[in-house]
């Protein structure tokens, strides 16, 4: 830049942030130019005011942070050892426990026999239902028994005195 040329806005901002970042020519100009120096001072002063106002307008905390009592150093030192010990204990218990501690349901012979009887009863019921699809109540209402049907029919065909078939 020309030594006699005033600093532009961008250079002024650069100077506000850090004057040492200016080029040699810019620094030389600044050393001689009161106008540019006062422009930088004016900008710096605005930023100082911003800092002060930001301080004033921010509320003050109503309480001071309260720090907890310091953790017991000996416990902090032994905490990894304690954790490792506990893990090892749990591992041993897991291996030692039957079935790894998982509960298993054990059936007794009596229980098996009872279950077999129940199964047999169920199968009998199913077989009966296969023969007579309707339940007893519906059978009474819907049809008569086979024996009764046969006697009445024979009596109708060959009537007898006492009503019995010869």
């Amino acid at each position: 830049m020309d030594r006699n040329e005033h600093l532009n806005k961008n250079t002024i901002i650069k100077a506000v942030i850090d004057g040492t970042d200016l080029s040699k020519a810019e620094q030389d100009h600044l050393a001689e130019c009161g106008g540019c120096r006062s422009e930088i001072d004016r900008f710096k002063s605005e930023l100082d005011t911003l800092e002060q106002k930001a301080d004033i307008t921010a509320p003050l905390p109503t309480r001071r942070p309260v720090l907890p009592e310091k953790e017991n150093y000996s416990f902090r030192l032994f905490r990894p050892i304690f954790a490792a010990g506990l893990t090892a204990l749990m591992l041993v218990a897991f291996i030692w426990w039957p079935n790894g501690g998982i509960p298993v349901y054990e059936e007794t012979t009596a229980q098996i026999l009872l279950e077999m009887e129940a199964d047999e009863r169920l199968m009998t019921d199913i077989e009966e239902l296969e023969g007579i699809a309707l339940s007893g109540i519906y059978m009474d209402e819907s049809e008569e028994t086979e024996d009764l049907m046969e006697d009445e029919f024979m009596d109708f065909l060959i009537p007898t005195d006492n009503g019995s078939v010869i």
Partner: protein
């Protein structure tokens, strides 16, 4: 700032940094008093950072509390005591990011209340005129910050709300200084075009 005032300011800052380094060293060794002193020094700064990000006092106070508990639990991880300030702000920055992630997750299930608006009751004065001016400034500032890109926003808050140096901002965000300067340049350039906010800074408003 005159050169004399700047020298005095730098000397004070240097003394303060030295004091913080010593306190951090003691805190790392488990000295409870030093830890409490560090809380005293930084809790307002951290609260301000959280407040400008969450915009509610209640959330800011809860998160600030959590940040200091995290600080205490992780002191043994601090590598150099002279970097305590950047380290603490890194914890704060990450914790706030986690908070917003959780809020976002809750938002997916419709469980959060969304982004809260600035509450005028959060301000401390009983002077209605002053409250109005504060609210106007804060509204404009929030509006301006909201319009910045993600990194411009983070860097602008750390630099101008929390008064961190560029070197410290770079350490907090784990980025190099030139990247920080680039984003800061863009943010300031946007500020230079925001006449409403600038009028409030120069006292030309109204």
């Amino acid at each position: 700032m005159t050169p004399d005032r700047k020298k005095e300011f730098d000397r004070t800052m240097s003394d303060q940094n030295h004091q913080i380094t010593i306190l951090a060293e003691n805190a790392m060794a488990g000295n409870r008093v030093s830890i409490e002193q560090l809380v005293d020094i930084f809790h307002q700064d951290i609260f301000r950072l959280v407040y400008y990000k969450t915009r509610t006092r209640m959330d800011a106070e809860d998160i600030t509390q959590e940040i200091f508990i995290k600080m205490m639990k992780n002191l043994h991880r601090l590598k150099s005591p002279n970097k305590f300030k950047s380290w603490l702000f890194s914890i704060a920055y990450n914790h706030i990011r986690d908070y917003f992630r959780k809020q976002k997750m809750l938002g997916v299930f419709g469980l959060n209340a969304g982004v809260k608006d600035f509450n005028p009751e959060d301000q401390d004065t009983n002077n209605p005129d002053e409250d109005l001016l504060k609210k106007e400034f804060q509204d404009k500032l929030f509006e301006f910050i909201e319009d910045l890109s993600r990194w411009e926003k983070e860097i602008f808050i750390l630099r101008f709300i929390n008064h961190l140096k560029i070197r410290e901002v770079a350490a907090v965000l784990k980025k190099n200084e030139s990247t920080i300067k680039t984003h800061l340049y863009r943010a300031i350039e946007k500020l230079s075009r925001n006449n409403e906010l600038r009028d409030l800074l120069t006292g030309d408003a109204g």
